[in-house]
């Protein structure tokens, strides 16, 4: 066994060696083979692209991109592709193809591409496309080639090269660029200045410092911008003192406001321990145009900065300054500024008061609840809105608790505002308090309580609210209570109408009972239908009307037949009209009925309608259909002077929606409308439809 084992082991080893050898062979051969294939495809594509020009299909270009993309993880293949693309650039291919190939080289190009691309820099026609590639090729070889080309370049090529040197931050180019800062061609000088700003090393900074004192006019603007960038870079290299000195010189100098603003920002960032003093000094000494920049910097200071010196300055600022500073305090959530902001709530200028009120949302505390409530209750428009929003957003662990606590003893108007904020703040814990205020003697308090309960109260409170509704004597407030009961019922996952259905039999008051029937209709729970239908047979006319109204609001067309019956058979005119209106409304609800069936039902409703209003409702419902028959039926009413306007609108709507209709007939109807209508926008629409029908 041991011998056999040994034999097998040797054999296994041999097989393994052969396999590895084969695999290595395959591995060594395959890529080359695969590369060869790719290269031959590449050459094919490049041959096609040689004659590519704008307007030819981009297919070959896309295929070339795909080949390159497939080579990205294969350095050897990538090198081969680069080589072939360089051959292409050296060929007599058209510009458009070379432009595309340069863009591809920009992604995979290496030092090997540099000589060819550098050569292209000597030709103004190809310089730009070469720079596209060179700018993305990293390394000093490319940098030096670009720099070398600078010496002989002219015009736009020169500017492009300078821009690329700046973009690549080629430190070696600083000396050359320094000379070009004073070039007679302002475009060249401008480019050189910008490039130095991007490089931003010590030498570039020195050159720009000198230029700042020598260059005037439009170019000076570029010098200062570049100089500011150098200062930023010094600061980033921890050369804070030098950076600060530059910022100081630009800030103190007689420069433009934008430059001084940027310098002020630099000053603050490089001297954080004195930032507040710097800002304060600016507010006290600088022209007002600089104040917005100074105030803006307050937002960037660390949260633990002591802002007292600036806070004290608030009353001395201009209106705009006050608004901006208050806004900055607000954005920072600067609690230390609260007293100053509260004081600004009584400023003489309304915009300042509004800003202060808004800011209290972020800098205020419990003590401001009463103030905000009072202003919300006593003012109008912007101030009221600002106070309300701040009361709604004021944050802190005890704010909600304090709002609840203040409600019972608040004066009526204040109480209303506090109750309003309960909903906006979603203070669920205020439910019991509002269940009490919903019975307040003041109607405004009751109304607001119901509104807020609709938001915060859960299904567990519904019985209490139903009881309140039953006891409510004022119709308007009872309507509000109905909305609240519906809203709360709909928060239950199922059996939404159960609390109302349970209590309904025990309610004797007709108004309250009618109100609950309305509620059932709005809930639309299928368990309510039998109850509502049963009440249609009631002897009590008020209850019957309430049931008709409830069924008219039903979410689907199920009660339509019941309403139609009443519309047809009731001797009571009010019931008949109300039921017909409800019926027409239910017909409008989307259903499985065919358009033909719906038309028939509408036509039946039209025969029942004795009043114009109902007839108009029918026409408006018919407008939603999409059939030729409906259009023709509607068109019949174009000759009825009382219904003509509604018939016109309905017919035009129908004509716009009919597909595959009788074009001649549609045109005939539309032409009739255009001749008779006095509705100009409608006539325009008809004209467009007629145009379409051509």
């Amino acid at each position: 066994m041991s011998h056999l084992k040994k034999v097998f082991s040797v054999a296994a080893l041999a097989v393994t060696i052969i396999m590895i050898a084969n695999f290595s062979f395959v591995k060594a051969y395959m890529p080359e083979n695969s590369n060869d294939e790719t290269i031959s495809q590449l050459i094919e594509r490049l041959t096609e692209i040689k004659n590519y020009d704008y307007g030819s299909s981009r297919e070959s270009l896309t295929q070339l991109s795909d080949l390159i993309r497939s080579s990205l993880d294969n350095p050897e293949l990538k090198g081969l592709i680069e080589k072939e693309m360089l051959n292409f650039l050296n060929s007599d291919a058209l510009f458009a193809g070379k432009q595309f190939v340069c863009q591809q080289i920009s992604i995979i190009g290496t030092d090997k591409s540099v000589p060819t691309l550098a050569k292209m820099l000597t030709d103004e026609k190809t310089a730009d496309i070469a720079l596209y590639a060179l700018e993305r090729i990293p390394g000093s070889f490319a940098d030096e080639a670009i720099l070398k080309a600078l010496a002989k370049a002219k015009g736009k090529t020169k500017i492009g090269i300078i821009n690329t040197l700046g973009q690549k931050k080629v430190v070696k180019s600083v000396k050359n660029l320094g000379k070009l800062v004073y070039d007679p061609d302002p475009a060249v000088a401008e480019a050189a200045i910008a490039a130095l700003g991007k490089i931003g090393n010590d030498n570039a900074t020195d050159i720009l410092a000198g230029a700042k004192d020598k260059i005037s006019g439009n170019l000076r603007h570029y010098v200062l911008d570049a100089y500011l960038k150098c200062a930023d870079k010094l600061a980033a290299r921890d050369k804070t003192a030098q950076a600060n000195s530059i910022f100081q010189s630009l800030y103190k100098g007689n420069e433009s406001i934008p430059v001084r603003a940027a310098a002020l920002r630099g000053l603050v960032q490089t001297n954080k321990q004195n930032a507040v003093d710097i800002i304060l000094n600016s507010l006290k000494s600088d022209p007002p145009e600089l104040h917005p920049a100074a105030i803006g910097l307050i937002r960037e200071l660390s949260q633990n900065t002591d802002l007292q010196p600036v806070i004290v300055e608030l009353p001395n600022l201009s209106i705009q300054g006050k608004i901006q500073l208050i806004s900055a305090f607000s954005d920072r959530g600067e609690l230390s500024a609260r007293s100053a902001v509260v004081a600004a709530v009584t400023d003489n200028e309304q915009p300042v008061r509004v800003a202060a009120l808004k800011a209290l949302a972020n800098v205020g505390n419990d003590s401001d609840i009463a103030l905000l409530t009072k202003i919300a209750a006593e003012t109008k428009a912007d101030e009221q809105e600002a106070a309300r929003v701040s009361l709604n957003l004021l944050h802190g662990a005890s704010i909600d608790r304090n709002i609840i606590a203040q409600i019972p003893d608040a004066e009526t108007d204040n109480k209303v505002e506090l109750i309003r904020s309960v909903a906006e703040r979603n203070i669920v814990a205020a439910t019991n308090t509002l269940l009490k205020t919903a019975a307040d003697p003041e109607r405004s308090v009751r109304r607001e309580s119901y509104k807020s309960l609709a938001v915060i109260a859960g299904p567990e409170s519904i019985n209490d609210i139903i009881q309140l509704l039953i006891r409510e004597e004022n119709n308007t407030i009872r309507n509000e209570a109905e909305i609240t009961v519906v809203a709360i019922a709909q928060k239950s996952e199922d059996n939404q109408a159960k609390p109302v259905l349970d209590i309904l039999p025990s309610v004797d008051n007709i108004e309250a009972k009618s109100s609950l029937l309305e509620v059932l209709g709005k809930i639309g729970d299928k368990n309510c239908l039998p109850v509502l239908k049963q009440i249609l047979n009631s002897d009590n006319a008020d209850l019957k009307l309430a049931a008709i109204s409830a069924l008219s609001n039903w979410p689907d067309a199920e009660p339509a037949h019941d309403l139609l019956n009443i519309a047809k058979n009731s001797v009571d005119e009010t019931q008949r009209i109300l039921a017909l209106r409800g019926y027409i409304g239910l017909l409008k609800i989307e259903s499985d009925r065919s358009d033909a069936e719906s038309l028939k039902l509408y036509q039946e409703a039209m025969t029942l309608a004795t009043e114009l209003n109902e007839k108009r409702l029918v026409l408006s419902g018919m407008a939603n259909l999409k059939s030729m028959a409906a259009l023709e039926a509607t068109a019949m009413y174009l000759d009825d002077p009382n219904l003509q306007p509604e018939a016109e609108v309905a017919a035009v709507s129908l004509a716009g929606h009919i597909e595959n209709g009788d074009t001649a007939k549609i045109r005939e109807i539309l032409i009739k409308i255009t001749n008779i209508t006095e509705n100009t926008p409608l006539r325009d629409r008809v004209d467009r439809l007629l145009e379409r029908l051509k």
């Binding site: 981009r58 992604i107 920002r265 705009q320 709604n392």
Partner: protein, 438 residues
């Protein structure tokens, strides 16, 4: 631009606009019967505006800004003279129509935005140029001390976006990115529900970018056409690579659709940066990633990765499709699905959820234009501050780069560079045709 072109253009300008083509059109004095004494002096707190780009989007914005009290449009700029004239006329008709006496100095018109920026009496600019023309005017406007409203997507490259942030900050400007979904209460509520944990722990986000444009931009192969005299084509191209004119890229004033330069890589990031700049923006907002971004981007690989996918450091996975239009947040307890037409949630009742005072309240803006105006007055950051625009467009560009290179990428949102991927890092910026630079 060739000399002959210049001569032809000068002739055209003189004929149509009555001006010389020294690139600028100076304000005309309009003996208006409509400029009331009260309005003759601009109130100190009215913001004077210059419009750069008054085509399809810029024209729409112009209408909105004209009707926003607090702004006063004093200049317009475009490289297409007919669009420029239309905008100038509209502004002048608007103001002369509103006033009853006095004289009105009219609205200046420029072909070159640099001349508009040089005017010291202009407080702020609205930039609605094609995407390849965002970074340069934004940066120059910041240096000139103007506040800026710039259309989305913020930039053509990631490097441009960061440069814009730096310049806006350096000069302390107030910048609003045109991602106006941030001023729509549906999107705000959606993000507040997510951030406050109403759908439990956020697991994944689906961003649907259904758009009329090619999702990932392609090489422009449009043929050259005869350039219309009213257009300064060289200026339209600006920093983009040279190529001949085509009307698909710069359609005439009579064309009322969205121009299709968005399909082409030299001018845009395609559908990804078009609707992507809106919807990734909301995704980032909901995730609380306004100052960060994903850490990994996985292009579809035909195997496990079916859709363009992003992974965030929190573990949240964001996937992208191009046949829906919405943002769907999925958490451990529910979902929030939102677009411009609807907000839907599971559980359904979340839609009416009140966010409590002590919960996270996101920046509330209900009007993108007024929010910018308010921020200008307050010197505060508006709802779509430049940093937010930068981070949102970065997500779009990251997706495009991953698809372009067709490989998973690791992203460092702090350093804003790819980890160990030189080729991807090369795509962070691109050369600008001379003489343009940022």
């Amino acid at each position: 631009m060739k000399k002959a072109d210049n001569l032809n253009r000068r002739h055209f300008l003189k004929k149509t606009l009555g001006i010389t083509a020294a690139a600028s059109v100076f304000p005309s004095i309009i003996p208006s019967t409509a400029w009331s004494a009260a309005d003759n002096v601009l109130p100190a707190n009215r913001i004077t505006l210059g419009f750069i780009g008054v085509g399809k989007q810029g024209g729409g914005l112009l209408r909105g800004f004209l009707n926003t009290p607090g702004f006063h449009v004093v200049a317009v700029c475009d490289v297409d003279d007919l669009k420029l004239k239309g905008a100038k006329d509209r502004v002048e008709n608007f103001y002369t129509g509103k006033r009853s006496e006095g004289s009105y100095t009219g609205c200046a018109a420029y072909n070159d935005f640099r001349e508009l920026l040089a005017r010291k009496d202009i407080d702020a600019v609205v930039i609605a140029t094609p995407d390849h023309w965002h970074a340069i005017p934004v940066i120059m406007a910041a240096r000139a001390g103007k506040d800026i409203y710039c259309e989305k997507p913020l930039s053509l490259t990631i490097a441009e976006a960061r440069a814009m942030v730096n310049e806006v900050r350096r000069y302390e400007r107030v910048f609003q990115t045109g991602s106006m979904q941030r001023s729509d209460s549906k999107f705000r509520l959606a993000c507040e529900l997510v951030q406050n944990g109403y759908i439990g722990e956020l697991k994944n986000v689906r961003v649907g970018i259904q758009t009329g444009f090619i999702p990932h931009p392609v090489v422009c192969d449009l043929p050259g056409e005869e350039k219309p005299l009213e257009l300064d084509w060289d200026m339209w191209l600006g920093p983009a690579p040279e190529r001949p004119y085509n009307s698909i890229l710069a359609p005439p004033v009579s064309y009322n659709g969205w121009p299709h330069w968005r399909d082409y890589i030299d001018y845009s990031g395609g559908g990804m940066t078009d609707w992507g700049a809106h919807h990734f923006d909301i995704a980032q907002w909901g995730m609380g990633m306004d100052h960060s971004g994903p850490v990994e981007i996985l292009p579809p690989d035909g195997k496990e990765i079916v859709l363009l996918t992003y992974r965030y450091a929190s573990g949240v996975i964001l996937t992208t499709d191009f046949d829906s239009n919405h943002i769907l947040f999925t958490g451990s307890k529910g979902t929030v699905d939102v677009n411009r037409q609807y907000i839907r949630t599971t559980p359904e009742k979340l839609v009416t959820q009140k966010i409590g005072a002590n919960e996270i309240h996101l920046y509330e803006s209900n009007n993108h234009t007024l929010d910018w105006l308010q921020a200008i007055y307050n010197r505060s950051k508006p709802v779509s501050d430049v940093e937010i625009g930068c981070r949102s467009v970065t997500v779009c560009h990251l997706g495009n780069i991953a698809v372009q290179l067709d490989r998973p990428l690791k992203w460092d949102p702090l350093k804003e560079e790819f980890k160990n991927d030189e080729e991807a890092n090369r795509l962070l910026s691109r050369y600008k045709r001379s003489p343009w630079r940022i």
